[in-house]
């Protein structure tokens, strides 16, 4: 039997976009942050799990050189500032600010990818040398993939806001993108300590 319905209300006045937990996109970002956060946790777990199998850590090698890793960390942290600014600009729906800041974010992305390139040359190990080398490279590559994907997310978005103009949904997208960038940044802090400092403290 087909049930009749009675209209008891109307939602036409509701806004058709929102921010943070209001918006659907934010939940998507949250989901993927959880997934990738879990991947990082497990990779860190694998790193710690492999430690006891070697007498020395890192085995018969110098730990990765601090220079580029630290530089990367500094730039990464610095990038959080414009990232927060763009987030709030989006919440304020301040179009000019978003346009300006998103270019700065792209600049940071490029800089970070370049530094990361040098970082790989200064790890003092190879993935096929031993398990230590393998896990170090694995973690570095894993984080680089996140960096690259978020950078790649930002570029089309930048083109969009500059070429097609911004509406509420784009402000919301910009905010989500900023949330994800924070994740990439702060997950790196943990990895930086793990890869660059833990071996030094142990030896």
């Amino acid at each position: 039997m087909t049930r009749r319905i009675a209209i008891v209300g109307d939602v036409s006045e509701l806004a058709d976009y929102g921010y943070g937990p209001q918006a659907l996109g934010w939940w998507g970002v949250l989901g993927f942050v959880l997934i990738e956060g879990m991947a990082f946790v497990l990779a860190i777990g694998a790193y710690l799990y492999l430690m006891p199998f070697e007498a020395h850590w890192p085995p018969a090698l110098r730990p990765p050189d601090l220079r580029y890793g630290t530089l990367f960390t500094i730039v990464m942290l610095a990038s959080v500032v414009p990232n927060q600014l763009i987030k709030h600009a989006a919440l304020r729906e301040d179009e000019p600010a978003v346009r300006r800041l998103i270019l700065i974010m792209i600049a940071f992305g490029v800089a970070l990818l370049i530094v990361r390139g040098f970082e790989f040359t200064a790890l003092n190990t190879r993935w096929d040398l031993n398990a230590y080398g393998s896990i170090v490279w694995a973690i570095m590559v894993l984080h680089t993939i996140h960096l690259a994907t978020d950078f790649y997310d930002t570029c089309p978005l930048a083109v969009l806001v500059h070429v097609r103009g911004i509406d509420g949904r784009h402000f919301s997208d910009v905010e989500d993108n900023a949330v994800y960038w924070n994740f990439v940044a702060f997950s790196w802090l943990v990895l930086y300590v793990l890869i660059y400092w833990l071996p030094r403290w142990l030896s």
């Binding site: 209300g9 939940w27 997934i35 199998f53």
Partner: protein, 640 residues
């Protein structure tokens, strides 16, 4: 939200299924095959997801028959070890990765948005993408299998057996990449379901009123999110060990063979519950409907689901008792494995209480649930036995375990799943399956199942190990193996009955009507099969069993019909918050999936495949997310 008297406007719908022409146009797919390729309708995608899953179920079942035939007699020459190893590896891989998890998510993809009372799943294009990725991954591994490049080291691919030294060629690489395919698909669907369940529930459907099926899918999705990264990491380590010479699993160079087992089972044990928890939700729906009362102790049931999901992550080591880990740690996992029996006990009690105090009608769906009790409880008890370290040391990796997990997985998941098919089939297709054929289907399955797997308990105890392609004559195993083989054919016959029943119903089944079972939840409020937009107006809910009230169903108007708009509500209380435009159909999820497939297969043969393959993928994704001028779903037309 402004509540006002309904004005008699011309386009005020009388039923959930009578939307204006404009609404129908807005949600319609392109006509013909192109529309089939580009659709983002959760119902069409859910249907094809289910069909594909069932195809893989049948294929894996055929492999099982082949194995049982080989084992019917001792020293049987039907096939050699290499073929047999590929058979059982493909059987396990297909059942776990290409049938069990996808089919549960598939049913959810179809049912969840309807149960929530919304118009489409969250992230519909991602949904389409996940289906294509899943399909291509499954097709890839089966073609590889057909070309003698099928996996040979079991669905668990323990190293070093799966390392280059002992599994030469590309067989294991294809297996590892198949994992990546299916995990990408499963994770995408999990994210969609979380967002759908938390953000698109009909106004008034508070967490307390949320149907248990939605609860179970919510928990399952979170389990997927936390468990699957583990196996992706593991299989990536494996394939890099095999392709570029990393040493994760090489004990001679600082690696460890058990790292694989930890990572794999940290996924592998929750995996069992990822398959089982959705089934629990299906059972709750069926029990509720057919005993005509709300499930007893709703809160306790929710807690049971949550604790199950939580403890599922604390058990993985009970797959590794024989590896010689510290005894004290093992005892902890024994305790944890025992504890997880409690939530199951709670649920079994509640269901029985519900049926007992209700007015049950023993239609086929409920029949399958009763079968579930008889089989799953036994499997659960043998599970308790396996949780005990000493006893596990005897029966681990024997046919006792084979019996145990088939009791748990077939009894605990496949029986409820079949029940769910019979239950929701009218909603999927608008036609009813034959009850008579349903009863035959059930009894053949039930008897065949027990004939096949009950003797295996005994086989294990008298020393028959798993994964053997043949066995000696004088071990006293012949009779029981023969019986098991006969049972396997009974199961095959019952599956055949099911297929015939479905085909007949699709051709000439009796029309179902909106709500053939007089069920209480929202998916039954609209037409069967539902219109593309599901609900012409958004239902409002003021009880856990909305359709059991006799009044007209309350609903909210005001969602735009000139674009694909849905209503977002708050996560806990489901108060209307904002409206949200969803994207239109697009072929780019398909192209992206193809690009990803090329990347994955390429990477099996050269690491550079990852680099060069990423370029077409990036292009496809960009076009996918680029809002096309005619797609007003992706832009806001209001401002603050």
């Amino acid at each position: 939200m402004a509540t006002r008297k309904p004005q008699p406007a011309p386009d005020v719908p009388q039923h959930f299924s009578d939307g204006s022409d404009e609404l129908a146009r807005t949600w319609a797919d392109a006509p013909g095959f192109w529309g089939w390729l580009t659709t983002v309708d959760h119902k069409r995608i859910g249907r094809r997801y289910i069909c594909t899953g069932m195809v893989f179920f049948v294929l894996a079942g055929i492999l099982a028959l082949a194995m049982r035939t080989q084992l019917a007699r001792p020293e049987n020459g039907l096939m050699g070890p290499d073929r047999y190893n590929q058979l059982f590896s493909m059987h396990g891989t297909t059942m776990m990765f290409l049938f069990a998890v996808p089919i549960m998510e598939a049913v959810a993809v179809y049912v969840v948005p309807l149960m929530c009372g919304t118009r489409n799943i969250a992230f519909p294009r991602l949904n389409a993408f996940s289906y294509w990725v899943y399909l291509f991954g499954g097709v890839m591994i089966w073609i590889a299998f057909a070309m003698n490049v099928g996996p040979e080291t079991g669905w668990f691919s323990y190293v070093p057996l799966a390392n280059s030294d002992y599994s030469p060629g590309k067989r294991t690489d294809f297996w590892a990449q198949m994992i990546t395919f299916t995990e990408v698909a499963a994770l995408a669907v999990a994210v969609e379901l979380v967002a759908t369940i938390l953000k698109t529930r009909a106004p008034g459907m508070t967490l307390a009123r949320m149907p248990l099926f939605l609860w179970s899918m919510l928990i399952t999705s979170f389990m997927v999110i936390f468990a699957m990264p583990s196996v992706m990491l593991a299989s990536t380590f494996l394939i890099t060990d095999r392709l570029v010479g990393t040493h994760f699993y090489n004990p001679a160079d600082g690696g460890d063979a058990l790292l694989w087992q930890h990572l794999f089972w940290f996924f592998g044990h929750p995996e069992v519950y990822i398959i089982f928890v959705p089934a629990l939700g299906m059972i709750s729906s069926i029990v509720e409907t057919f005993s005509r009362r709300a499930v007893f102790a709703h809160t306790a049931m929710v807690l049971a689901l949550v604790t199950t999901g939580f403890f599922a992550f604390g058990l993985w080591v009970h797959h590794m008792f024989a590896t010689g880990l510290p005894a004290l740690g093992n005892s902890f996992y024994t305790a944890a494995s025992m504890v997880i029996a409690i939530p199951s006990a709670v649920q079994v009690f509640s269901w029985l209480a519900t049926i007992g105090t209700g007015k049950p009608k023993f239609a086929t769906p409920l029949l399958f649930v009763l079968g579930f009790f008889a089989i799953f409880v036994l499997g659960g008890l043998t599970g308790v036995m396996l949780a005990s370290v000493p006893l596990d040391l005897q029966v681990h990796d024997t046919y006792f375990v084979v019996a145990h997990f088939h009791y748990v997985l077939i009894g605990g998941a496949v029986f409820p799943l079949f029940g769910a098919f019979y239950y929701w089939f009218p909603k999927f297709t608008g036609r009813r399956l034959s009850e008579t054929a349903g009863k035959w289907n059930f009894w053949l399955f039930f008897i065949g199942f027990n004939v096949t797997f009950f003797p295996m308990h005994y086989l294990g105890l008298i020393g028959m190990p798993r994964r053997v392609y043949t066995y000696p004559v004088d071990m006293g195993w012949d009779l029981w193996n023969l019986i098991a083989t006969i049972g396997a054919y009974l199961i095959a016959i019952s599956a055949l009955v099911f297929v015939v029943n479905v085909v007949r119903a699709l051709r000439s089944g009796e029309p179902a009507g909106d709500n053939p079972w007089d069920a209480p939840s929202l998916e039954w409020a609209t037409a069967s099969p539902p219109p593309a937009y599901n609900f012409a107006a958004i239902p409002r809910v003021d009880s856990a069993t909305p359709l059991w009230s006799d009044n007209d169903l309350p609903a909210l108007s005001g969602l735009r019909s000139d674009r694909r708009e849905i209503l977002l509500t708050t996560a806990t209380d489901a108060d209307p918050q904002i409206t949200w435009g969803l994207p239109k159909p697009s072929s780019w999820p398909l192209w992206s999936a193809i690009a990803l497939t090329v990347l994955f297969i390429w990477s099996i043969f050269s690491p550079w495949g990852v680099v060069w393959g990423a370029i077409p993928l990036a292009v496809a994704l960009t076009i996918w997310f680029w809002p096309s001028p005619d797609d007003r779903g992706l832009i806001s037309e209001k401002s603050r």
